[in-house]
Structures are given as structure tokens and as C-alpha cells.
Amino acid sequence: MRRFWALARTAAVEVLSEPLTVILFLVATLAVHALPAFHYHQFGEAGRLARECGLSSLLVFGLFFAVPAASRAMGRELESGTAAAALARAVSRPLFFCAKTFGVSLVFVLFAAALVLATETSSYSCVKGAEFGRNAGVVNVWGPAFAAGVGFTAFAFVAAAFANRFRGWRFCLWACLLMALAQVAAAGVSFGLGGCTGAVWEKLPASGIVWSFAVLSVGCLVFVQMAAALATRLKEPGVNGCVALALASSFVWPVRALVPDVNAFWLADALTPAGGGVVSPGMPLLAGACLIVFWTVAGSWLLEGRDVG
């Protein structure tokens, strides 16, 4: 396990050390927290815009950052010789592959978790804001939620900058970790102020949001695993080409029971069980998990048969 964690931690630190990770983290969380301000554009449902923004940010992060990062983490290691230096130790190739992809996936999951919390907070303040005008006794938490979401996120960013300046901590890594923690604090403040009870929670599309994020995350993680597996044999442009082809082909897959309804206009509708062509709530997650296992085995096997050096 020590070997696995050493490899996974290094892969995660590598991804978290990239400036683009911090930019995406900051922009996505701030945008989601700021969206309840557009309360006249709810598209018939309070919080819809916030949910779409959260899901779209996750999709962008997954496909345009996590997937290339997984490909780079594997390809660059093999080309630069750091993989050879690691594999010359008592490290098996399947362990190396699994640990590297786990490290990248961990960063993606951290981003997804932060976005889920930001989206829940934002969506909650939208719902409470919409109820405020109609029902007496409802606390409008939009202002405090906005202040907590934007404030805590900005504070985390600045705190990481100060820690870097005065203590030499890695700015990008700590900014991402602190911004993720800031989402927990923002959610706590917003739900606390709003008097979130079981009855209020039921009115929220909370479980729908978590479900949508889970389906989308598993989908992205399939492509993360696929990119890493292909990077054991192909150069980066080849990997990106194959991933793009796989993405394009998902629109014509005749397995509508397994994949989200890609024809749905709203991403949340496409991903939630009631919205699209999903027949069983667990099917997309099960299909995704099977594909992740498939690409893990394939990647390990491809690396096992390759000369490294």
C-alpha cells in the first residue's frame, strides 16, 4: 500500500500543481455561487441555471483537463524516464498504472465534490429565494449564501497565496484544497441560516443534483482511465484522437438504457433518472464502473507488455 500511495500522491500533486487546475476551480465555484443573482432566469425552475453551470463546469474539467492530465501523467512519465526509475524498484506495472490513474481520479473527485457542494448551496438559496416572496416565515438566504460562497472561496485563494509567500507552501495545491474546504463552510453557513429541515430538504432537488454529478463523474472517469490506458502505447495526439472518437461515438451507441439521454437539452435532465432514457437508476453507474474496470485491466496489460527505458 505504501508504494501505491507514494505513486498516487505524486500523480495527484502533479495535477494539483498545474495553474489551470486552480483557475478552473476558482472560476467554476465562483460562477456557481454567483448564479442565483440571475433569479429572473430560472427557466421555470428555481436553481436550474446553477445546476447546469455546476454540471457543465464538471464536464469541462473532466474532458478538457482531467482526461489530458491522465494521458500526460502516463505518457510523460514513460517518455521522460521517471516511469523507468520507478519501475526499476519493486513496483509492479499494474500497481504503477492503477496508482497513477487513481491519483488523477482523486483530483477529479475533489473537484466534483467541491462543485456538488457549491451547486447544492446555490440551488438551495435559489429555492429559498423563490419561496421568500410567496410564503411568510421563509428566510431568504440568497445574500448570506452568496457572501459565504464567494467570500470563503476568495479567502481560500488569498490564504493559499499568503501561505506560499510566507511559508513556501505550494500555491496551486493549497488553493485547490482550501477552496474545496471553503465549499463545506459555505454550505454549512447557508443551510444553517436557512433553517434547513427535513421538510425543506425534500423540496430541494438535492438527491437529483448528487445523482447527476455521480453519473457525470463516472462517465468522465471512464475517459480518464481510457486516456491513461492508451497513453501507455500512443503519443498524446493519438490518445486525444481516440478519446474524441469515443466521445463522438457515444452519441450513436444503441444502448440508451445505459447511457444518459444525450438529446436532452438540459444536462441535468439528461443525467437524472426521470429525465432521459435511463431505465434504472443504477444502470449508468454500473456500466461506468464496468468500463473503468475494463480500461484499468487493459491499461495494466498494455503497460506490462511494453519496453520501458
Binding site: 505513486l7 502533479e14 521522460s80 526509475a85 519493486a90 513496483v91
Partner: protein, 191 residues
């Protein structure tokens, strides 16, 4: 092939009586690549800790060993700096510390002195001599024959994938007219 990284097209390699792909064999091995392949975003300390982790060492033991090794390669003062900003000589010393972290029985060094300045070369040579004197087997591949004459007990000359000459360095030097360039003359003679 000794490291289990390349598959031989013919023949076989045994490392401590096992296949080089066997983890038990590679656990007794330390390796220094020709170019110091290091993660530029890790500090010197984190780099050595990373390789200690890959060797399966406990965290406490890894920290103690890392501290000792960084002192040994004279990098304690730069332990918290990212290796991406290191000079070639400093990166080489971090790579050497990483190769030694698991106290290997066999140390494989690929061009250990390439690209180093004279002081760096002398320090690396002293370190190798010290390790060998402590009983560690050191296998070096190099084109720096002058350095190898100082360092090695035995040499093998490889040309087109075949051993075309070799033997004890002491014997080669004794038979040579120019003692200072004995190994270079021997190499030129057999290749």
C-alpha cells in the same frame, strides 16, 4: 534488461537468481539513470521520500533515511527546494540519494559522471568508492574510461551488443605502456 525494463530478444538475465521482473529481485537493486529523471515539482526531500515509499519503507524510517542521505550528498540546505530549479550536478546528487534510499545490495549506475563539472565528478567518484568499500556491488555503464579506470575493479567492453574484451583493471594497467590512459588504449585495441 537487468532492471526488468526491456525484454531480451534472445537469452535470459538472472538477478539474484530470479527474473529481473520479480519484485523480490528488484527490491535489492538501486538504479541511477543516465539523465536524472526527477519530478520537477517535487522538492529534494519529497523526491527521496517518494523513492523510499516505492521501496515500501515506513514513513518514520523513510524520513530518517532521507535526512541521512541528503546530508551525505550535501543537499540538506536545499532539501525544501523543488528539483526543477536544480543545476545538473545537484539533480544528479538527488538521483544518487534516491538510488541509495533502500540500501540496495546491487547499485546500477548509468553514466554517473556525465555532464558533471570536475568537482561534481570527483564527489560522485568518492561516493561510489565509499559505497563499494562498504561492501555494495556497483555496476557502472560509462563512456568515461578515464573515470572508470579510477573507479572499477573489473571491466567488460561491449561492442554491438557483444562483450569483446575485459578483465581486471589492475591487469590491463600492468600490461599497458601508458599507465595513465591504459583503459582507453585497451578499448581502442579491442573495438
Amino acid at each position: 534488461m537487468i532492471l526488468g525494463l526491456l525484454t531480451p530478444s534472445a537469452g535470459s538475465v538472472k538477478l539474484f537468481g530470479l527474473s529481473p521482473r520479480a519484485k523480490a529481485a528488484r527490491a535489492k537493486l538501486g538504479y541511477l539513470p543516465e539523465l536524472s529523471h526527477l519530478h520537477p515539482f517535487l522538492t529534494a526531500e519529497e523526491t527521496v521520500l517518494y523513492y523510499a515509499g516505492l521501496s515500501g519503507m515506513s514513513r518514520a524510517a523513510a524520513r530518517k533515511r532521507t535526512s541521512e542521505l541528503l546530508a551525505q550528498v550535501k543537499l540538506s540546505a536545499a532539501a525544501k527546494r523543488p528539483v526543477g530549479g536544480f543545476s545538473k550536478g545537484m539533480a544528479r546528487r538527488v538521483a544518487i540519494a534516491s538510488a541509495l534510499v533502500a540500501e540496495p545490495e546491487l547499485l546500477v549506475l548509468d553514466e554517473p559522471t556525465s555532464g558533471l563539472d570536475p568537482i561534481g565528478t570527483r564527489e560522485v567518484k568518492e561516493l561510489i568508492t565509499d559505497l563499494a568499500s562498504r561492501g555494495m556491488t556497483v555496476l557502472i555503464t560509462s563512456h568515461q574510461l578515464f573515470d572508470m579506470q579510477d573507479l572499477c575493479n573489473r571491466v567488460a567492453i561491449l561492442s554491438n551488443g557483444k562483450i569483446v574484451g575485459g578483465g581486471a583493471v589492475k591487469d590491463i594497467v600492468e600490461k599497458s605502456a601508458d599507465k595513465r590512459h591504459a583503459l582507453e588504449d585497451y578499448f581502442a585495441g579491442v573495438v
